[in-house]
C-alpha cells in the first residue's frame, strides 16, 4: 500500500491527473491517495490538438 501511495504522489507530482471509477461509467478526480479505490487511472497532462 505504501508503494501505491508513493506511486500516486510521484505521478500526480509529475502532472498526471488521478481518477477513480465510481461505477456505472462515473468517475471522480482524486486530489489525494485513496486506499479504498478499486482502480486508479492516471491521465497524462492534456493539451489542445
Amino acid at each position: 500500500m505504501a508503494a501505491a501511495e508513493e506511486r500516486f504522489k510521484m505521478l500526480t507530482g509529475a502532472g498526471f491527473t488521478a481518477a477513480k471509477r465510481l461505477g456505472e461509467g462515473r468517475s471522480e478526480v482524486l486530489k489525494s491517495f485513496d486506499p479504498t479505490a478499486e482502480e486508479t487511472l492516471f491521465i497524462p497532462r492534456l493539451k489542445g490538438g
Binding site: T17, A19, S27, F33, P35, T40, G48
Partner: protein, 139 residues
C-alpha cells in the same frame, strides 16, 4: 501481487493501478510515451478494453453501435460526443443533438485511441471547464 505489463520500452503515459486492501498494486499498465502515430495493435486492443471498462452501459452500447459515445459536461451540463479517434474527435452538441462545434483535447504522448478517448471522457465529465480552457475549438 503486482502485475505489470510493459508496452514497448519504458515510459508511462496512461497508467492505471488499483489499491485493493490485500493486493496492494493490483494492476499497472504502462505505455510508451512516444509510441508511433499508429499505436501497435496490442496497445490499441488494451486501450479499447480499458475504455469499455470505464464506460457506462449506455455509453458502451453507443460505442459498440456507432463508434462514438456521449458524455455530459460536469460544469455546464452540455452534451459532447466523443467519436472513435485520437484528436479533433469531440463534438459539442446542442439540445437537439446537432453539432455546434468540435473540440480538440488530447493527452500528451501518442497514446492508443482508447486511452485518448478515456482521458477525454474523464476530463469532460469531471473537470469540463478546465479541460476546455486547454482545448482548441474548431468548426
Amino acid at each position: 501481487m503486482i502485475w505489470a505489463e510493459l508496452g514497448i520500452g519504458v515510459g508511462a503515459a496512461l497508467t492505471a493501478f488499483g489499491a485493493g486492501v490485500l493486493a496492494g498494486i493490483i494492476m499497472t499498465q504502462w505505455r510508451l510515451a512516444a509510441l508511433p502515430k499508429a499505436a501497435p495493435l496490442e496497445a490499441e486492443q488494451k486501450g479499447l478494453a480499458l475504455l469499455r471498462s470505464w464506460l457506462s452501459p449506455e455509453q458502451a452500447e453507443q460505442y459498440s453501435s456507432h463508434q462514438y459515445f456521449d458524455v455530459i459536461g460536469s460544469d455546464t451540463g452540455m452534451r459532447y460526443r466523443i467519436r472513435h479517434g485520437y484528436m479533433m474527435n469531440i463534438d459539442e452538441l446542442d439540445s437537439a443533438g446537432n453539432k455546434v462545434c468540435a473540440w480538440c483535447l488530447v493527452p500528451v504522448g501518442n497514446l492508443a485511441s482508447g486511452d485518448c478517448m478515456l482521458a477525454q471522457k474523464i476530463a469532460l465529465e469531471t473537470f469540463e471547464r478546465k479541460a476546455l480552457a486547454i482545448a482548441n475549438r474548431g468548426s
